[in-house]
Symmetry: C2
Subunit: 333 residues, 2 copies
DNA sequence: CTCTCCTCGCAAAACGTTTTCTCGTAGTAT
DNA sequence: ATACTACGAGAAAACGTTTTGCGAGGAGAG
């Protein structure tokens, strides 16, 4: 029978000929331990291949060095980028990341947030689908928490992108080109990011002379874009603002099949600047949401709470307009 | 001073008027406890909002209900898909997933695997970059572990895609179309998946009459494809087999700029069938690697080990050829 | 009426650490 | 030489559960 059990702190203590308290102190760099002794302990630990059990450590310390990220859909490129930025930033600070995919299910989102919080030091809610009220009610139990891409919240720092500003840039770009009749392909109509876009459009219509924007409810996925192609064409608009790049790409694909010339007959803009937005033909003009930076900022906000620094109340990153080939001066029939 | 502390098992015991052992038994569905009493305990727990501390539970039970996934690059669509399939399958079985991005760094990969294993019940190594020897040496310490997309291993079940079979399908497709002079754009030249492709090519060249395949080392990213465009054209080949979809898309993009007609002048194939492979123009002919299923299979293999079922020694999924618009009969000058 | 089995309470050990408290010893100052 | 200080290290408590052993009480069966 070989001893398969992982060595414990007592084994190290025995080998080094000291008490187990001393081992703990030595391993944690406690300065009250004699350097020579500490070295002897470390040598013994190394010889045994000892590493303190994180679980036992977590129990007594009350912290797990782990945070949870709850995401509505792991398939969404934006969430993937947020997760990537978050994960790498957290790892750099010596933290681990628990990822939970709620699959757009509200109950699941609730359950996952609660469940993961119990085994972590905090949870980052990524664009939570739950209502404002539910969120406000749940937040205290989750604290410390960080909310990404939602409106201002009480009880948790919020980091997000300014979708209104992004939309304004798109509108400015389009109107500067000379477009007056636009279509807005709405996506998640209950989301805050949709309302921000809508408000920006409303403001532009109010201020701009002769600007018309027709709203068509599409969806958030590629297929949503292909599905509304004919309706879009029927409007006679010269440019269409898609809810996001996926929808824009879907629309673009459907229009290519219909032999509609983009951008000469119709300009199209996306939103997000997902990895492949640059590689469509024509490449997509879009408002780039700094998703990776969003993830990093979310981690920074969480880290600040965990280390009891002054909390970041709210941080908003501004998307940048990226003009590519899918927009141009409107055609003059 | 409000009591902010989470209720403990003793609080529930006190409220329900039973001993703390009974609470534990009741909460864990131990059949030796009277159903009525169990219900009373559960009611008390619900009233207090009690949930057993997973950390304390993990310590005594010796399991965390969590597994770790170590991934070389969270930006890679294939790994994202594997993570997604894995995460959802694990969640369905009541497990949590710790994700670690090694950023293609070998030392980091080692460190992360070891570190995450300590706080989880097992680790899934996703296409580990470390050498065969290092892997074999590390695996015992990680057990239970699952390896994804590597050659057969001792000490851990392996799930993976049959890249050789995928390559054979591509070659068959291309030769059936009439192509004889091909270029293979090699990617990660040290990887097992590369060698599998190479072997399939070598076999085809040996068997096929008049088949020539020139190998050019490119890379694994979009830019690698754009970079070798001129060299590819200089070969005079009629079809090019890219290492993966990313490289194929990069090449396609560069060729479009050079006004090379794909597929009429040059056929291109990818590998993986990443989400956007269907949306390039022309859409990409590729060998679809069932990445989500790979993730699910990896979880199944892990779950089997955790529940002491008969372990899955090795599972190989076969890619399916997806013929789209980027391949055609070679042009006859 | 007694025997037995079932249910439950109680107490305590165990999981593997960190941390507080306490004590012994060595060094320093008088 | 003695007393006081300071420092290093050991013993024990604590973290919040699960689990085991044992005993008590009640109910049902013979």
């Amino acid at each position: 029978m070989a001893r398969a059990a992982r060595p414990g702190i007592t084994d190290v203590a025995k080998l080094a000929g000291v008490s187990l308290s001393t081992v703990s102190r030595a391993m944690n760099g406690n300065p009250t331990v004699d350097p020579a002794l500490a070295e002897r302990v470390r040598a013994a630990a190394a010889q045994l291949g000892y590493t303190a059990s994180p679980v036992a450590r977590s129990l007594v310390l009350g912290r797990t060095q782990t945070v949870a990220v709850v995401i509505p859909d792991l398939e969404n490129p934006t969430f993937q980028a947020i997760l990537r930025g978050l994960s790498r930033a957290a790892t750099a600070d010596g933290y681990h990341v628990l990822v939970a995919d709620s699959r757009e299910d509200l109950d699941e989102e609730h359950a996952l947030a609660r469940a993961t919080r119990l085994r972590t030091d905090g949870v980052i809610l990524c664009a939570p689908r739950m209502s404002e009220d539910e969120l406000a009610e749940m937040l205290p139990a989750l604290s410390p928490a960080v909310v990404v891409n939602r409106g201002p919240q009480v009880g948790a720092p919020v980091v997000g992108a300014d979708y209104g500003a992004g939309m304004r840039q798109i509108l400015d770009h389009l109107t500067a080109l000379g477009h007056r009749r636009l279509v807005y392909l709405a996506g998640a109509t209950r989301s805050v990011t949709h309302r921000a876009r809508q408000a920006a459009i409303a403001a532009a219509v109010r201020d701009g002379e002769g600007l018309e924007v027709e709203e068509i409810t599409a969806g958030v996925a590629f297929d949503s874009g292909t599905a509304v192609a004919d309706r879009v064409l029927a409007t006679g608009a010269t440019a269409v603002i898609a809810y996001n790049d996926l929808v824009a790409m879907g629309l673009l694909s459907a229009l290519t099949i219909r032999r509609v010339d983009v951008p000469r007959q119709l300009s199209i803009t996306g939103f997000d600047d997902i990895p492949f937005a640059a590689y469509t033909s024509p490449p997509l003009t879009t408002a780039a949401v700094p998703a990776v930076e969003l993830g990093e900022a979310a981690w920074a906000a969480m880290h600040a709470q965990l280390t009891a620094e002054e909390p970041t109340p709210m941080l908003t990153l501004t998307p940048t307009l990226i003009v590519r080939g899918s927009t141009a001066i409107p055609h003059s029939d």
